[in-house]
């Protein structure tokens, strides 16, 4: 909702009726400019009070409920002027407009009766009235719906980041805690939905796995073995969980070692050398990753080559030659047998004797005219007569050999001849692949050595600049980096092997199944397994792209805010930690973390990040009004204007109480901003005694731009 107005009656220092203390707001940047003790913070309190029934106790620096703050809430001047026995009310009315242009009026009232000059009888609690504008008339909203209207003015999750005092900014994000940014993103984005889905689906997957196993065990042919496999699967599942935890720990330790190394390297004075070495090390690491990927690709392709490049046939040529000899011998004997069989047939009966016309008649009559015996169709005698019709050489060999294998043996012979040349080239093919693999390994080794040398050079540079302790710390962290990288690699390999073992056991359990397993259990297991993967990868994609958008937006804001003061160079980087958290840091153009940033710069980073989050997916900057009291109180000069400009451009509405622009001449800065209304406020003591709070009131005047 957009806030249209805030009016106050006898609320703290705001003496007088609503009409005397009225602020009207528009879209854009609304400013309430005032010096110290002019009523800015009390105005900020008024926003809080009307919504939350809480008031900031400046003495104790905590928010307290009205019932505990009592008549202190009411203007001292009004209390002084009141007659004994009279009842006084403090009131704040906020009018806000929803996106459907419906106006809501929220009024909180708290009263106290004057018993004597010192004693007051305060109400036990404040009263909230909520009205909705219906065709120009204020109609009360049912009390059950009050909460929902209040939440639409400012939601509870968003409130700390959109309604804050300057001194609170530092506490909104504790950047030393690396989970802070992730937590803020979780609160202010819809990423939590994915996390919840992931939790639900992971639990579902566990249940589905168990249900399927139970269903398999019901129809197993070997109950004892199935039970034993079931126990093994349980143990493997635990082993996987432990391994995953170990991997997370190793990753975190590796990240810590890298961070420490980075911090120590930053202490080297020779910036040019440091940058040169760091760039070289980064380039080498990137090249090593690419080399390792190429090497792995070649290694994993090796077993395919056994079959696709016929490496498997290496050394088989002798046997194949032996087959060729055997085949030739066979072929000669086969043909000889064939020729003999054909010749004997020719000797028995000359070609075309008896004449084909007689042979055809024999077939029709199904009788041999030579011997007079019957030759029924499909009988051996019939086939024999039929053969007389074929030319001599074409007589089927099947009648010569019971099992003619000539075609098959010839196929094997031809195949072995065809592959002869390929087999001759196998050595060269293997050698060339080996040499490529060796080349990659050599390159990786060379780069590893150079990285070690660079580490040595860093150590030397550190030795020149720093104490022995720092050099020793550098060595320790470098050793840790190596150690945890190795542990991580080993654990990853182990996890992979354990996962394969689990698949094998699950397959074995399935092989013991004799009957039909409940199809629903199978489907559920499969669906949950897919679901977990889909949700996990979607969640990571969404989160990563959220982070990337956030980093870009925060940098745009950061550069907008620092445009007028070039004392800060560099950009915000959201660094992904091994734990999956992101930690913000300011880095220079070479990617070095700038550790010398002062508080003022940190405030800027925090504000840029908070604003970026509010502007991101949820478009909170569009739906709620940002209200802040002295947000620039900890900012260095010249950043304030940049901050207001960024606020005016990127937030639909902001209401800021500030002591900036007290000088009328500085207000020309507003000319390019998207401005709402600007008020100037000042405390007034008509009697002239500035110590007499019972004479205090606030004068409000709108500043025309």
């Amino acid at each position: 909702m957009i806030i249209k107005s805030l009016t106050l009656k006898n609320f703290q220092c705001y003496f007088g009726d609503h009409v005397d203390n009225a602020f009207y707001f528009k879209e854009g940047l609304n400013l309430i400019i005032g010096d110290n003790a002019s009523g800015k913070s009390k105005l900020f309190d008024a926003f809080f009070w009307v919504l939350k029934d809480q008031i900031f106790n400046a003495d104790e620096r905590v928010f307290v409920f009205t019932r505990n703050y009592k008549e202190k809430l009411i203007s001292d001047k009004a209390k002084r002027n009141a007659q004994v026995g009279a009842k006084l009310n403090a009131e704040v009315t906020l009018i806000a407009e929803s996106s459907q242009e419906t106006l809501y009026r929220l009024t909180r009232i708290y009263g106290a009766r004057k018993l004597d000059e010192r004693q007051w009888e305060a109400d036990s609690q404040s009263k909230l009235l909520v009205d909705e504008d219906k065709l120009g008339r204020w109609v009360p909203v049912r009390s059950q719906l009050h909460d929902s209207v209040l939440r639409r003015v400012i939601s509870r999750d968003v409130e700390p980041y959109m309604w804050f005092q300057g001194e609170q900014v530092d506490g909104l994000m504790d950047l030393t805690d690396k989970s802070t940014l992730t937590n803020v993103i979780n609160v202010l984005s819809n990423i939590q939905i994915y996390d919840e889905l992931l939790t639900i689906s992971t639990e579902g997957r566990g249940r589905a796995e168990k249900a399927l196993r139970k269903a398999q065990q019901k129809v197993t042919k070997d109950q004892d073995r199935a039970d034993s496999i079931g126990r093994e699967i349980d143990a493997i599942t635990l082993e996987i969980a432990r391994s995953e935890t170990d991997i997370e720990d190793y990753r975190a330790s590796l990240e810590t070692a890298k961070d420490r190394i980075e911090e120590l390297v930053n202490q080297i004075d020779d910036a040019a050398k440091k940058t040169e070495l760091k760039k070289e090390a980064e380039r080498l690491r990137a090249e090593m990753i690419a080399d390792e990927a190429s090497l792995n690709k070649r290694l994993s392709g090796i077993y395919k080559n056994l079959f696709t490049k016929y490496w498997i046939l290496r050394g088989s040529q002798v046997s194949l030659d032996r087959y060729s000899d055997k085949y030739k011998e066979y072929f000669t004997r086969h043909n000889k047998a064939l020729a003999e069989a054909t010749a004997s047939r020719v000797r028995e009966l000359p070609r075309d004797i008896p004449q084909p016309i007689h042979v055809n008649q024999m077939l029709v009559k199904e009788r041999c005219f030579v011997c007079g015996r019957e030759a029924k169709r499909e009988s051996e005698a019939y086939k024999h007569i039929l053969n007389l019709l074929s030319p001599g050489d074409g007589r089927s060999d099947e009648h010569v050999f019971a099992n003619d294998g000539s075609k098959f043996f010839q196929k094997l012979y031809n195949n072995s001849l065809e592959l002869k040349r390929t087999i001759a080239g196998v050595d060269e093919s293997i050698n060339s692949e080996f040499s490529l693999i060796q080349q990659y390994r050599g390159e990786i080794k060379k780069k590893e050595n150079r990285i070690k040398e660079i580490r040595g050079e860093f150590t030397e540079l550190l030795e020149d600049d720093s104490s022995e302790n720092i050099v020793s710390a550098f060595r320790t962290h470098e050793a840790n980096r190596e150690k945890y990288q190795e542990l991580l690699n080993r654990e990853n390999r182990k996890l992979e092997a354990v996962r394969v073992r689990k698949i094998q056991k699950v397959t074995e359990l399935d092989s013991l199944v004799t009957g039909a397993v409940d199809e629903l259990a199978r489907a559920e297991d499969r669906i949950y397994a897919d679901l977990v993967e889909v949700i996990r990868s979607t969640r990571n994609d969404v989160f990563d792209s959220l982070i990337s958008e956030l980093e870009d937006t925060a940098n745009e804001l950061f550069s907008e805010m620092t445009r007028r003061n070039r004392a800060i160079t560099g950009r915000i980087r959201l660094k992904r930690m091994a734990t999956g958290n992101y930690a913000p840091e300011i880095v220079d153009s070479d990617g070095y973390v700038i550790h010398s940033t002062n508080d003022s710069n940190i405030i800027l980073v925090k504000l840029a990040l908070i604003m970026a989050i509010l502007m991101s997916r949820g478009k909170l900057s569009e739906n709620y009004s940002l209200i802040s009291d002295a947000p620039t109180s900890k900012m260095a000069k010249n950043y304030t204007v940049g901050f207001y400009e960024a606020l005016s451009k990127n937030f639909r509405q902001s209401i800021v109480m500030t002591y900036d622009f007290l000088e009328g001449s500085s207000r020309e800065e507003f000319s390019n901003f998207n401005m709402g209304r600007v008020y100037s406020i000042a405390s007034e003591y008509p009697s002239g005694d500035r110590m007499d709070r019972s004479d205090l009131r606030v004068s409000i005047s709108e500043v025309s731009l």
Partner: protein
């Protein structure tokens, strides 16, 4: 198939006892790629004492007996190859992690 060719290269031929025999045998016509299977058969025929000409004139039962010489040769070389590999792994368990092992064994000089 790999085990057969390794057995063949190493002349490692090891008989399979009846109790070790697999109850099920994956039909050879399903083996792939075909040209490699043909090579394997050619090698097995050359290394067995099967008489190719005699095969052509035998009756069904006798032919089955003669053909089993080829099948036995395949099994024996494959078995020999596996026994050879197991022996290697027993001696040097770390070889299990050597992704180049199978290629090296093939490419070692005869």
């Amino acid at each position: 198939m790999y085990a057969f060719f390794i057995g063949l290269k190493r002349a490692a031929r090891k008989a399979i006892y009846p109790e070790d025999r697999l109850k099920t045998f994956w039909e050879m016509e399903n083996w792939k790629p075909r040209d490699l299977v043909d090579c394997l058969l050619a090698c097995a025929i050359s290394e067995s004492n099967v008489d190719m000409n005699r095969l052509e004139v035998l009756g069904e039962a006798e032919m089955g007996e003669e053909l089993s010489k080829v099948r036995r040769t395949i099994e024996e070389y494959a078995n020999g190859g596996i026994v050879y590999l197991l022996g290697l792994f027993e001696k040097e368990p770390d070889l299990v992690e050597d992704e180049m092992l199978f290629i090296r064994l093939l490419s070692e000089q005869d």
